[in-house]
Symmetry: C2
Amino acid sequence: MTATSKDVARLAGVSQPTVSRALRGSSGVSLETKRRVEKAARELRYVLSERGRALSTRRNRRVGIVISDLTNPFYPHLVAPLYDLFARHGFQAVLFTGQDDDGPAFEELVDGSLDGLVLATCQINSTLPDCLAGRGMPFVFLNRETDAAADSATVDNTYGAELVGDLLAELGHRSIGAIFGPPATSTGRDREAGFRSSLARCGLSLRDDCVTHVPYAFDRGCVALESLMGLSDPPTALFCGNDVIALGALNKAAELGISVPGDLTIVGFDDITLAAWQRIQLTTVHCDLEELALTAGELLLKRIADPGRPHVRKAQRPRLVLRQSHASVTPSATV
Amino acid sequence: MTATSKDVARLAGVSQPTVSRALRGSSGVSLETKRRVEKAARELRYVLSERGRALSTRRNRRVGIVISDLTNPFYPHLVAPLYDLFARHGFQAVLFTGQDDDGPAFEELVDGSLDGLVLATCQINSTLPDCLAGRGMPFVFLNRETDAAADSATVDNTYGAELVGDLLAELGHRSIGAIFGPPATSTGRDREAGFRSSLARCGLSLRDDCVTHVPYAFDRGCVALESLMGLSDPPTALFCGNDVIALGALNKAAELGISVPGDLTIVGFDDITLAAWQRIQLTTVHCDLEELALTAGELLLKRIADPGRPHVRKAQRPRLVLRQSHASVTPSATV
DNA sequence: CTGAAAGCGCTTACAG
DNA sequence: CTGAAAGCGCTTACAG
């Protein structure tokens, strides 16, 4: 149905390897042969078979991006710049998703069709990184990481969460809760640690009855907020493990008639574009997601080019962005 | 570095083709050989090379999904169910994005590494469908379509937009504008036609000075709303080409202090999950995006299995969902 | 400058 | 039941 280099060779009256050389513009092909081959290729609407090329060269020009949940509005911010970056470097990016956080079947990641991998949703205890390392498969951590020795591009989550703790203290809150992310993720773990240590430093503490851990999902933010605010003595401020959770909390609060920030301060983490919308105006910790993604992508490209180079871990310093979801504790609420 | 079937064969003491047969569980392999091969494979942590398999069988078990813009919150709703569906049928889904609406380079879609294609962001005048057809490449239109003969899964956009026109008429609006989507898309074209014909039937007309066309993007909705509402005599109701545009309009209205629906009715189209958020509550036309995606996916799978079958075009009937962004025209606004 | 040969890692008739 | 051979569509030494 579709023409191969052999067909082109026949039409151009040359051998198949010559077609290969001519079309790739490799030196040592006479101009006239090159022209003839190109003409024949055009006529047959020849397109190089990527699978043939990949098998022969053992390079795929293709990298995978592993992500647990596509509908999570956090990931597009990471994925889009990665696609562009890889495309600019002649690599095709392929998205892998799966049910659990470890994502797709291990097999399809190491079946020889990928030159490298970006791991964006690894759980701390995942065995994937070690398996990949054991097979000599280049990979890089993006946003989340594990203890495995590897390149990584992350945010200084501890620091970012400390900023939030400091803010809540400054605002005079003393009844503070949190909807943390999963402790099994580096982001969840570090943000919780940073938040707690900041409060402690300020002489405050988290109310044990106002702390919960949920997956990074809108719905879970909704549910968590409802149960925390159903307490007889609800908190006046809530730190959320990320913006997606915070968005769920924010919307559920609106549904329950809880005024934000009047009755309740809510602070997120990540600063996805939604957070800045006028109808949202979420106070949060700003991360430069594009820079994060590009850093990861570049680390992976370097690793693919030079598998032996030493690992590098890069952490971006986030900053607080103050919008409309935080306020000083009100007298009524402190009573 | 990584073991091939030849390595497994050597270790198991059989020929390479026997390894292939044993591991695929094809009949006619003695149980004892099978066991021996499986053991050797396990020991070597052998994983089948997808590129070798694909080259040999000429089937890739892989389909592409072509989408113009990943960060558009509309697409995840389509992409996620597609990934799942294809995975269940043993196909790997691969996302393709590009700058323009025609997306990625034609070459990578027909380089022989894909069994089929889902086209989700085709422009009406795109030559891609014909090129694909000319190469015998199976594909299906999802959401948007062109005149090209092909399978397609769409929504009845004309009908959906008529519902909106009817609603605005019923609410008593007489000063009506629209931020339509691109006329070069079937959705843009049909929604505009449906909206206009409904208004005409109700004896109303669109105000020419209050009509604009923009790409399906949040930012463009913002800008469009600002200019329309900057008119000396702004409209009291606005139909937006889709929810993403409507969301932009909604947020810009909030920024400008324009009350929705007090001063302005805004209606979208698609009903993406964001539209239902408490902080948004957008009145819109509901489409079952998951059903839409699954329909497209199934059509593609059938086409791959039987390239000769007649084309089928399926259109889903949408319905209005009334939330908080519409209201009867107020006396003050009609003056 | 160009062709013949070998090989990338598989599968699939074809023999036996 | 199993092996030897051929082939999928390329690229890359190797000759000439």
